[in-house]
């Protein structure tokens, strides 16, 4: 017989039912954690948009390649920029011919009539008017830059759409969390109700019900923390393999490896802690529902 403790009273007295519930809770946590990690990684539609959208700084004809590389290097250091690549006039000509084959005759004297350019991709989380403006303000003063293509009038509308889509996606996450909490509370109420004869036995022998309820909540917090940690680790593994195996996932969500980046540490820890706290609270709520005050 294991050492008895009110923290694990459910496990100690109704182990089989608890195993079933824990499996269900793990699945729930896995779904919520997957949603959360996917949103964290992608920033909603930010990742997809940043993969599709590039700003182009067309350089003046005659700007040496060295200067073009230098400009790209400096732009890449801007906080909003994920990647900046310099394309030589020769690269630009090849791309032109790929798009419009048969126009070789435009090239005269071995010289390409096209200028080189710098292609700039923004970080998903900086996909905003401010992020674009930052890059524009860095490029515009440069004498070597002839023109900047940034989407023009379409961009503000697109960014507004992106903002709304993100609100919808985060609201979806909120809804999933709400459903998760409701299921948690129902599960906890059923667990507490299952303990009714046991609690009655214990209360009859001088153990205050409040003490059992509080200690169960501590147990639920610890167990819940373990479950959500395991579920988050499984979600990470799932995203890792999905992003490695399916390019579409990579484009929409990004690479799962990025989640180990330090900037995600705080939100991930907060998520794990909140999930554990909610499970502890749900235990108390379930207890109170099954054993109203004074009962």
């Amino acid at each position: 017989m294991s050492g008895p403790s009110f923290w694990w009273i459910d496990w100690s007295l109704h182990g089989r039912a608890m195993r079933r519930e824990t499996a269900g809770r793990f699945l729930l946590c896995f779904m919520v954690a997957s949603y959360f990690l996917a949103m964290l990684l992608s920033g909603g539609v930010n990742r997809f948009l940043s993969e599709q959208y590039t700003m182009t700084a067309i350089l003046r004809i005659g700007v040496p390649d060295g200067e073009g590389v230098g400009i790209a290097g400096k732009v890449a250091l801007l906080p909003s920029v994920r990647e900046a690549r310099y394309r030589t006039p020769e690269d630009a000509w090849k791309e032109f011919l790929t798009t419009y084959p048969g126009l070789d005759s435009l090239r005269r004297g071995g010289k390409t009539p096209l200028p080189g350019y710098v292609e700039v991709s923004l970080r998903p989380e900086r996909m905003s008017e401010k992020g674009i403006a930052d890059v524009m303000s860095a490029l515009e003063p440069l004498a070597q830059v002839e023109k900047i293509l940034s989407g023009g009038d379409v961009m503000p509308g697109l960014l507004r759409l992106k903002h709304r889509a993100n609100i919808v996606l985060w609201s979806g996450f909120g809804l999933v969390c709400l459903v998760f909490l409701v299921i948690l509370a129902m599960q906890e109420k059923a667990s507490a109700a299952r303990l009714l004869p046991d609690v009655s036995f214990l209360a009859d022998r001088g153990t205050p019900g409040e003490r059992i309820g509080a200690r169960r909540a501590v147990g639920a917090f610890i167990t819940g923390g373990g479950i959500v940690l395991l579920a988050a680790a499984s979600s990470f593994a799932f995203l890792y393999f999905a992003s490695a195996g399916f390019p579409f996932v990579r484009i929409v969500l990004g690479r799962a490896q990025e989640l180990v980046d330090g900037r995600f540490a705080v939100p991930v820890c907060l998520f794990l802690l909140s999930a554990a706290i909610f499970q502890g609270l749900a235990s108390l709520v379930g207890w109170r529902a099954a054993f109203p005050k004074g009962r």
Partner: protein, 249 residues
């Protein structure tokens, strides 16, 4: 000591009995006998602090369990064992589960001790090897004996037994009589509610019953005359020839 002062009960708007006064000292064993529906279980509930009497008071170690501090009431309840009229069995599946529940109530029995103790107690009530038996498969007598073993598991200072002999059957009267007397000699206070005192228990040394209301009160084991009651109603400690002490009482 448990003292009942002018305790009265009413049921369905009319008094069942009133003015019941008696005292049960440490290490005494009492059988409170009475006809069906006379309020034996109700009296037991009053004495255990489960239900406040309609009149009068119950005092344990000099403090009322109803008008005294909640902590005193809780400590008294924690030091009680009870085999109720309706036996446990709901919610738990096996005999071991019941012991587990009792261990939870004791909150502090070492895990290594519990196994051996459970086996010893089950053997004592004639159910060796019953640890894994399902509660639903037990007969009424077996259930009553398991319930007694489960209570003894925590080594309670006060033991309340409601219709135990009725449930276990006459065959068990002698064995249980010896066991309970031995417990009383170890300073456990035992109060039994029965319809009648078993004939076999009526010996030459048994004092005549006291009559109180509809009840006949038999004091089968008296406390040692030289036993001094301690002021603060301390928990029982020390070893036991039956090996039933320990835990939180």
């Amino acid at each position: 000591m448990i003292e009942a002062f002018r305790v009265g009960a009413a049921s369905r708007g009319r008094p069942l009995w009133e003015g019941l006064t008696f005292a049960v000292r440490y290490g005494e064993m009492w059988v409170i006998a009475g006809p069906p529906s006379c309020g034996k279980t109700l009296l037991m509930q009053f004495l255990r602090g489960e239900k406040c009497p309609d009149s009068g008071d119950v005092v344990v170690a000099g403090e009322s369990i109803y008008r005294g501090s909640p902590d005193h009431h809780r400590r008294f309840r924690a030091s009680c064992g009870v085999v109720p009229e309706s036996l446990p069995g709901e919610g738990v599946k096996t005999v071991t589960d019941l012991f587990r529940l009792s261990a939870l109530a004791a909150a502090g029995l070492p895990a290594a001790e519990t196994e051996g103790r459970m086996e010893a107690l089950l053997s004592l009530v004639g159910l060796p090897g019953a640890e894994g038996w399902e509660i639903s498969s037990l007969s009424g007598s077996e259930r009553a004996r398991v319930a007694l073993a489960v209570e003894l598991f925590r080594s309670p200072r006060y033991l309340f037994l409601d219709m135990l002999l009725e449930k276990t059957g006459k065959e068990w009267a002698d064995k249980l009589g010896s066991l309970l007397r031995a417990l009383a000699r170890e300073e456990k206070t035992i109060i039994m509610m029965e319809r009648e005192l078993p004939d076999r228990w009526k010996g030459a040394k048994t004092p005549p019953p006291l009559s109180a209301g509809p009840f006949r009160l038999y004091r089968l084991v008296a406390s040692s005359p030289d036993r001094k009651e301690e002021a603060g109603d301390p928990p029982s400690q020390g070893g036991s020839s039956l090996g039933l002490t320990g835990g939180r009482v």
